[in-house]
C-alpha cells in the first residue's frame, strides 16, 4: 500500500498552492487545512449535505468526494473567491438582504452551487430554484429566504447583464 506523499499543485481563487499530501487526503481537507481556506465546510463527508461544494474546473463539485490529488493542475474556486474586494457580490448581497442565513455553516455550499445555477439558468422559476436548492441541506432557515435571495440575485444579475 503506497501512501507516499504526492505533489499537488492547484490554483485556488486565482492563487497557486503547492503541497505534498497523502493520496487519500480529501480535497475538502486540502482546501481547509493545507490552503487555510476554511470557508468550505464539511457537514457529512458522504456527499449529501452539500456544505463542502466548491467549483472545480468550472463545475460545482463536492469537495468531500474528491481527492486532493485529483485536483492536481486544476483550478478551484471557493466561497472566499466570490467577493469583489471588500464588497459582497450580487448573490452574497442578496443573501444578506434577504436574511438567507442563520448559523452560516451551510451557506458557502449554497453560494457555490447557486453561482453555477444562476449562470446556467438566469431566469429560474420557483420550482426550478427549489429543485436546485434541494442539493444542499440547511437546518436553520427552512429555505424560504434562500429562495427569495436567489430570486433577488437572479433579477439583479439580469439587470446588470443588460446594462
Amino acid at each position: 500500500m503506497s501512501t507516499a506523499r504526492r505533489e499537488v499543485r492547484v490554483t485556488v481563487n486565482g492563487r497557486a498552492y503547492s503541497r505534498s499530501v497523502e493520496p487519500r487526503m480529501l480535497l475538502a481537507d486540502f482546501v481547509r487545512h493545507e490552503c487555510g481556506l476554511t470557508g468550505t465546510h464539511v457537514g457529512c463527508a458522504h456527499g449529501v449535505c452539500g456544505a463542502c461544494t466548491v467549483v472545480l474546473d468550472g463545475v460545482s463539485a463536492r469537495s468531500c468526494l474528491t481527492f486532493a490529488i485529483q485536483a492536481d493542475g486544476k483550478e478551484i474556486t471557493t466561497v472566499e473567491g466570490l467577493a469583489e474586494g471588500d464588497s459582497l457580490n450580487a448573490l452574497q448581497q442578496a443573501f444578506h438582504e434577504n436574511h438567507a442565513l442563520q448559523c452560516g455553516y451551510c451557506t458557502p455550499g449554497f453560494l457555490m452551487s447557486l453561482t453555477e445555477f444562476l449562470r446556467e439558468t438566469p431566469d429560474p422559476d420557483e420550482a426550478q430554484i427549489r429543485e436546485r436548492l434541494s442539493g444542499n441541506l440547511c437546518r436553520c432557515t427552512g429555505y424560504a429566504n434562500i429562495v427569495r435571495a436567489v430570486q433577488a440575485a437572479a433579477q439583479r444579475l439580469r439587470e446588470e447583464g443588460r446594462t
Partner: protein, 792 residues
C-alpha cells in the same frame, strides 16, 4: 426587507440586516474546526462500542500504539482517576442518578459508547489506529424500546439501580376524580412520538489548548452554554475554574443537543493537560447520529374528559420517555418527562389535570433537549384530541377551541399547572390566521370524501403556547440545580466612543450580535453600526446560563437593558459636566448627548469617552464620579413569559403513495415586543421545517437489539427546499407584562406549532378513512396503510 433608515425613532422593531453576515458570507466564520491549530496539536479519535450492551473484558492497544504517528492510546482504565463518572446530580423525589464514565471501563451501554481513544499527529492516522484496537466484548441482552425496558425481565441498563426507571413523577389536581367521572364523554388515545436527531449542519467538535505557564486549558467547543460547561468541567476534573476557559466560536446550529457537557469535551481537556499538548476532536456525521443526544421517543396515554358543549373538563396523561443509557449534564433526565405535562394545557382553561411521567433507561443514545422539548409532542396530542372531540360532537374544530381558549381579558392567568400566563393573544392569532387562510372558503370547497384533484386534502389548526424566557425561580422549582437561570451583560463605551457589549449568550445562528445591538441602540441613543456585541467566551463575558429554551430575547434583552440603564446614567453625568447642565436635562440621541430642547448644546460619545478615560487636557471628572464608562448587570426575569401562535397547515395526501405535501402554511405569531421581525419570522420558518421533518419522515431508528439503523444522511431524512413551503406569516405583539423590555422568546414556536398543525391536517385529510393520527412520523408507508385500512 429594509434596513433602519435615518430618522426612524427606534431600532427595536425594525428588520435590521444582520451584522454577522459579512464574515459568514465570505467564508470567514470561525467554527471549531477552523480555529487555527497550534503546533503539535494531537487529533483524538474515539473507539466506540459496536454493541448496545456488553461487558468489556479486555482492550488490546498494542498494535494501535505502534502505528506511526500515534502518540497514545487511552482506555477507560487510564482515565478513571482523571475523570470521575459524571451526571446531573439533582435531588428530586423519584430520581435515580446514573453516572456516565467518560470512557467505559467494564460495561458499554449503547452503540457508540466510548471505549478507548487514540491521540495521533493527524486525524487520518488517528482513525487508522482506531481500527487496530482489539476489544474483547461479552455481549449482553439489550433493550431499545421504552415499554420493553419496563418489563420486569428486561435487561438492566444500570446494575446498581433496581430497575430501568430513572425518574418518576406525577401530580393530580384536587377534585380531579370527581370531575373526570362526571364528564359527559371520555376519549382515550395512545400516542407514539418518534425519536429524532438535531442534525445541526456542523457536527460536534472541540479543541483543548493547554497553557503550560498558567496550567490551564482553553476549550474551543461548539457549545450553547460556555459558562455552564466551564463549571461542569472544573467540577468533574476537580480543577479550579480559573484553570478552565471555554470559548464558543461561530457554531453551526445548536437546537438543544449542544447544550450538554459531553465526554469528548472532558477527555480533550483532561488529556490536553496530561499530555501538555493541544488536543482536537471533530466528529463525523456517523458519530453525530450515534452519540449526539437524540430527542423525543415518547409514549403518551391521554384521557380527555369533556362535555357535550365541547368544554374539556379534565385531562390525564401518562408519559413514558425513553431517556437512553445515561443521564446527562446539566439537564438530567427530568427535562422531557416533566416538560410534557407542564406544556400540555397550552392555551386551554381546563382546571383538572393529572399526570404521571417516567424517564426510562434503554440501551440507546441518551435523549435530551431539542427545540421545543416535549411541547411540540404534547401539543400534537392535545390538538389531535381537540379535533377528535369536535368530529364526535359535530362541532367545527375552531368552535371547540373557542369554547376552551383563554381570552385576552383574562391575563394574567394562572393555568391548571400554576403556570402564569402573563399576556397573550390566543384568540386574536386564531382569528387572523383563519382570515389569512380563508377558512370559510376552505370549508366550503371541502367534501366529505376529501378528494380534490386526486389527493386527499385537509386542514389542521393548532393554537399553541410557548414557554419562554425562564429564569432562576423556574429552574429551582424544577430542581435543576446546575442551571443558574440568570444571564448577564457587560457594556462599555470605548475611548473612541464606540459601544462594546458582552453577554453571557453565544449564538448558533440567532443573530444576537444584531438583536442585542438593536436594544442597546435604543437605550443609549446610538446607531447599531457603533455597537459591537460579543459573547461565548467565559474569559470575556459575564457569567450566565446560555442559549436554549427561547431565552435570548428575554434574558439577553433584559440584561442589556439593565446594563444600558446604569451606563446611561454615567454618560449623562459626564455629558452634564461637559455641557454645564444638569444630568436630568440630558438626552441621548444619535450618538450624542444634548440638553433637552437645545440640540446645539451637545457633545459626542467620543468626547464623553475622552473625558471618562482621562484623555483630555484637563480634568473633566464630574464631582463624585469615578473614571471609566462601563456597566455590568444581570437579569433574572420574574418567572417565564408565554408566547403564543396559531399555525394552520393545508396538506395534500397522495392516495396512491401516501406521500404528504404541505401546500400552504400560515402562522400568526406573538412573541411580545418584537426586536427584529425579520429574525423572528426566520426562526419560525426554520422551526416549522424541523417540525415538518419530524411529522412526516424524520426518525432515529434502532432495531430491537439497539443497533442504530439510521446513521447517515441517506438514512435519516432532513427536509429539503422541496419539502418546506414559504410561510404566510404575520406578527401580533402582546408585550410581556413581566419582562424588562416586554420581550418574549421566539426560538421554539415554529416546531411547537408545526407538529400539531401538520398531524391534524393529515387527520382531517384522512377523515374518510377514519384514521386516528396517533403516531409519528407520517411516512408514506404509514399513511398508505391508513388509507388502505391495514391498521383497521
Amino acid at each position: 426587507m429594509s434596513t433602519h433608515d435615518e430618522g426612524s425613532d427606534t431600532w427595536v422593531g425594525k428588520a435590521v440586516l444582520r451584522k454577522e453576515d459579512q464574515r459568514l458570507l465570505r467564508g470567514f466564520g470561525t467554527y471549531v474546526d477552523d480555529v487555527p491549530e497550534p503546533r503539535g496539536t494531537l487529533h483524538l479519535s474515539m473507539l466506540r462500542s459496536p454493541y448496545a450492551h456488553a461487558r468489556v473484558l479486555s482492550v488490546d492497544t498494542s498494535e494501535a500504539e505502534s502505528l506511526d504517528g500515534v502518540v497514545a492510546v487511552v482506555t477507560g482504565a487510564d482515565v478513571a482517576d482523571l475523570i470521575p463518572p459524571f451526571a446531573a446530580d439533582y435531588e428530586r423525589p423519584g430520581f435515580k442518578i446514573s453516572h456516565r464514565p467518560a470512557l467505559a471501563t467494564d460495561t458499554v451501554r449503547f452503540v457508540g459508547d466510548g471505549v478507548a481513544l487514540v491521540l495521533a499527529e493527524n486525524a487520518y492516522v488517528a482513525e487508522d489506529a482506531i481500527g487496530l484496537i482489539y476489544v474483547e466484548y461479552v455481549p449482553l441482552p439489550a433493550v431499545a424500546d421504552v415499554e420493553e425496558a419496563l418489563q420486569p425481565d428486561a435487561p438492566r441498563i444500570h446494575e446498581d439501580l433496581e430497575d430501568n426507571i430513572l425518574l418518576t413523577g406525577g401530580n393530580k389536581t384536587d377534585g380531579f376524580d370527581a370531575v373526570f367521572q362526571s364528564a359527559d364523554h371520555v376519549f382515550r388515545e395512545r400516542f407514539r412520538i418518534n425519536r429524532v436527531a438535531g442534525v445541526a449542519m456542523e457536527p460536534r467538535g472541540c479543541l483543548a489548548i493547554y497553557d503550560k505557564a498558567e496550567d490551564a486549558v482553553t476549550l474551543w467547543t461548539g457549545t450553547q452554554v460556555p459558562h455552564m460547561l466551564r463549571v461542569g468541567i472544573a467540577r468533574y476534573l476537580g480543577w479550579s475554574e480559573s484553570q478552565v476557559r471555554v470559548v464558543a466560536p461561530d457554531v453551526g446550529g445548536g437546537f438543544g443537543p449542544k447544550m450538554y457537557l459531553y465526554p469528548e469535551e472532558l477527555l480533550a481537556v483532561a488529556l490536553a493537560r496530561q499530555y501538555r499538548s493541544p488536543v482536537k476532536w471533530i466528529e463525523d456525521r456517523l458519530e453525530d447520529f450515534l452519540t449526539t443526544y437524540h430527542a423525543r421517543d415518547h409514549v403518551y396515554d391521554v384521557e380527555v374528559a369533556f362535555n357535550d358543549d365541547g368544554t374539556v373538563q379534565a385531562v390525564n396523561v401518562d408519559v413514558l420517555v425513553n431517556s437512553g443509557a445515561y443521564s446527562n449534564y446539566p439537564m438530567g433526565v427530568g427535562l422531557e418527562p416533566f416538560q410534557g405535562p407542564l406544556n400540555m394545557p397550552g392555551p386551554y382553561r381546563f382546571r383538572q389535570f393529572a399526570f404521571t411521567c417516567k424517564g426510562i433507561a434503554t440501551n440507546t443514545c441518551s435523549t435530551g433537549a431539542f427545540r421545543g422539548v416535549s411541547a411540540p409532542c404534547v401539543t400534537m396530542a392535545m390538538e389531535g384530541m381537540m379535533d377528535r372531540m369536535a368530529r364526535h360532537l359535530g362541532l367545527d374544530r375552531v368552535e371547540i377551541r373557542r369554547r376552551n381558549i383563554i381570552h385576552s381579558d383574562e391575563f394574567p392567568y394562572l393555568n391548571v399547572n400554576n403556570q402564569r400566563y402573563d399576556t397573550g393573544s390566543y384568540v386574536e392569532c386564531l382569528d387572523r390566521a383563519l382570515e389569512m387562510v380563508d377558512y370559510e372558503g376552505y370549508l366550503a370547497a371541502q367534501t366529505p370524501e376529501r378528494i380534490i384533484d386526486g389527493k386527499y386534502r385537509g386542514i389542521g389548526i393548532a393554537v399553541v403556547t410557548e414557554l419562554t424566557g425562564q429564569g432562576a425561580a423556574r429552574y429551582k422549582a424544577r430542581n435543576l440545580s446546575d442551571l443558574p437561570g440568570f444571564d448577564g451583560a457587560h457594556l462599555a463605551i470605548e475611548p473612541n466612543g464606540q459601544v462594546i457589549a458582552s453577554t453571557s449568550f453565544s449564538s448558533q445562528g440567532q443573530g444576537h450580535e444584531t438583536v442585542f445591538a438593536q436594544v442597546i441602540a435604543d437605550e443609549l441613543g446610538v446607531s447599531v453600526d457603533d455597537i459591537t456585541v460579543r459573547g461565548g467566551d467565559t474569559q470575556n463575558s459575564p457569567f450566565g446560563t446560555g442559549t436554549f429554551a427561547s431565552r435570548g430575547a428575554v434574558l439577553g434583552g433584559g440584561a442589556v437593558i439593565r446594563a444600558s440603564g446604569d451606563l446611561r446614567e454615567k454618560i449623562k453625568k459626564f455629558a452634564a459636566h461637559l455641557l454645564e447642565a444638569s444630568p436630568d436635562d440630558i438626552v441621548l440621541e444619535g450618538g450624542h448627548a444634548h440638553v433637552q430642547g437645545v440640540r446645539e448644546m451637545r457633545v459626542s460619545f467620543y468626547e464623553i469617552a475622552r473625558a471618562a478615560y482621562g484623555l483630555t487636557d484637563s480634568m473633566q471628572l464630574p464631582e463624585g464620579e469615578d473614571f471609566g464608562l462601563e456597566a455590568l448587570a444581570t437579569y433574572d426575569p420574574p418567572a417565564s413569559s408565554i408566547a403564543n401562535a396559531c399555525h394552520i397547515a393545508c396538506v395534500a395526501v397522495d392516495a396512491a403513495t401516501g406521500i404528504v405535501e404541505v401546500e400552504r402554511y400560515i402562522v400568526v405569531h406573538d412573541c411580545g415586543r418584537v426586536i427584529n421581525p425579520l429574525l423572528v419570522e426566520s426562526q419560525v420558518q426554520g422551526g416549522v421545517a424541523q417540525g415538518l421533518g419530524q411529522a412526516l419522515f424524520e426518525e432515529v431508528l434502532y432495531d430491537a437489539e439497539g443497533q442504530l439503523l439510521s446513521a447517515t444522511l441517506m438514512d435519516y431524512m432532513v427536509p429539503t427546499a422541496c419539502d418546506v413551503p414559504t410561510l404566510e406569516f404575520e406578527h401580533i405583539e402582546s408585550p410581556s407584562s413581566d419582562t424588562l423590555g416586554g420581550f418574549k422568546g421566539a426560538g421554539e414556536g415554529g416546531v411547537i406549532g408545526s407538529l400539531p398543525a401538520i398531524a391534524c391536517a393529515v387527520g382531517d385529510a384522512l377523515v374518510p378513512v377514519g384514521a386516528n393520527i396517533n403516531r409519528l412520523p407520517l411516512r408514506p408507508d404509514t399513511v398508505l396503510s391508513l388509507i388502505e385500512g391495514a391498521d383497521g
